[in-house]
Symmetry: C2
Subunit: 346 residues, 2 copies
Amino acid sequence: MNPPLVEVMRGNAVESIHRGAIAVVDADGTVLASLGDIERPIFPRSAVKVLQALPLVASGAADQLGLGDDELAIACASHGGEEIHAQTAARMLAKAGLDADALECGAHWPSLDTATRQMAARGQAPSALNNNCSGKHAGFLCLACAMHGSGPNLRQYAKGYVGAEHPVMREVTAALQATTGFDLVGTARGTDGCSIPTYAIPLRHLALAFARVATGIGLSRDHAGAARRLRAAVAKAPYMVAGSGRFDTRVMEHFGERVFCKVGAEAVYCAALPERGLGVAIKVDDGNTARAAEVAMAAAIEALVSMNDADVDFMRDFSAPTLRNWNGIEVGALRAADALRSALAR
Amino acid sequence: MNPPLVEVMRGNAVESIHRGAIAVVDADGTVLASLGDIERPIFPRSAVKVLQALPLVASGAADQLGLGDDELAIACASHGGEEIHAQTAARMLAKAGLDADALECGAHWPSLDTATRQMAARGQAPSALNNNCSGKHAGFLCLACAMHGSGPNLRQYAKGYVGAEHPVMREVTAALQATTGFDLVGTARGTDGCSIPTYAIPLRHLALAFARVATGIGLSRDHAGAARRLRAAVAKAPYMVAGSGRFDTRVMEHFGERVFCKVGAEAVYCAALPERGLGVAIKVDDGNTARAAEVAMAAAIEALVSMNDADVDFMRDFSAPTLRNWNGIEVGALRAADALRSALAR
């Protein structure tokens, strides 16, 4: 049973509690810090989008299609579905000679509430471009373009790209397997929110993959170059990877290439910390992403990234945010549990 | 450490898990079933609104102001902020000679997404009437009207009614103390989302209060009559207590007076089951209301209410809902953990 990672305070009392596990690993696979069960395979969901985007660059697709930083960043994104995100995904698709009809991620209203209300006020309905995964899927379709060529049959070739046996998804899964070093053939498989397969992988292996992304050590030359380019692209276009008010965007706007972090559904969080060559992987047992996984990741960044006073001030909003009610009255706070702080301090 | 109550499946694997505790108690205070720690005080939040509404009826305010079933029901509600909810709360306030300016709950966009998008499409901004607690607060103001009289100074008298020391809130807290039988003076106190105090109370006492609401046993004559009337009002106007698509509304539309259930923030759930004279109280440790507390309460209703085949079919959507992704593909399911089923079967 996993220990508490994050506590929710109301007044002076603990109102709710989030248990989970965290692994901090270097590129040699050494576990430098951990808490909870880091060997149990968990579905990493969207936290591994940067690993799934490696073939987009490694295949040469990004160069062939002239993808820029914003496009590479959104290929690694769970974005807020804002206008600029939808436009960027559409532009990628156009470069591959495709449009939103080729997307197989499904449509949903923007994750960002204000974007939803703006669309509703304009009488618009959401499309697959507003799906938080539209950039990742546009990346898959760009990869399809590189694998098949941009001829008139591309649309037909790409059809069903979300399926585990499609050549595009095989490439994506191979990158996941190579970077994590975990056998995906024998592990549990589920279907993700955007219809691609998600494979259960232990936190220790996920953290290893992100240490490899941070350093290039243990990756093929192509993957190492792709990882470097994707990290640089996200550092230059952090708004694309999440959006207004979001943890990943704000933290990467602040730290640039010093932190690459990516949230996933059901409270998975992964990070690559190049300065110390570390990878971090977190899973909160109950799947609470917005407050639990974020506070845990903030605590990890605080412990593992060298910080000046301004950095420390900046991170406090994420690692110990105040909770206010509808009248703006302070009613409580989130905080990293002592067990998590202690594990990270080792 | 509390055992699992609800599991989240993706494919055939458990993706996330929700721990917590449940108490099933009769009006004599006998614990008929339980799981986890039912003695630790927890903040009951909105799950106890029916207890907080007892003075509205017991004081004679409801009769003096001619409140109908829909108005009494919304006094016990965490509603979706739909137009009909806002109108009903406004009508209550008008009966007390007040308007939305007297509400101290704060404003927020409707909890129901479609209601938010409709308001945005019309260019409207939310008011305190859309706050999920506006009916409860309108009830407090009707109580203020009865306590002070409807004269020109009512607005001044009512000001600050959300404060623990205000005469109105003292009445509300006294009802909470009387029905739960728990000393609220010495317990932890927090501020709720709508700015009123919330007092930490053990699940065993919360379940006892709801067994008393179910039966009238152990309540003062005034409270017993008020509880009967509020239960009947909610059974006649279940849309008012929650709204479109919501668990409480759908379940009480189906079962009528056979089930009174009320959700609260941070995954608290209470129910009164008059047929067997039982009270139920649930708290999920991690505060996940929408999927964890609801599935746990559905399992409790299945186990504790006598059901025909149609009832069983109806409840399956709540106790074992299928999870679908943005393409409508079945990706998993929620289920009550074995430990919960076993505890309830005793």
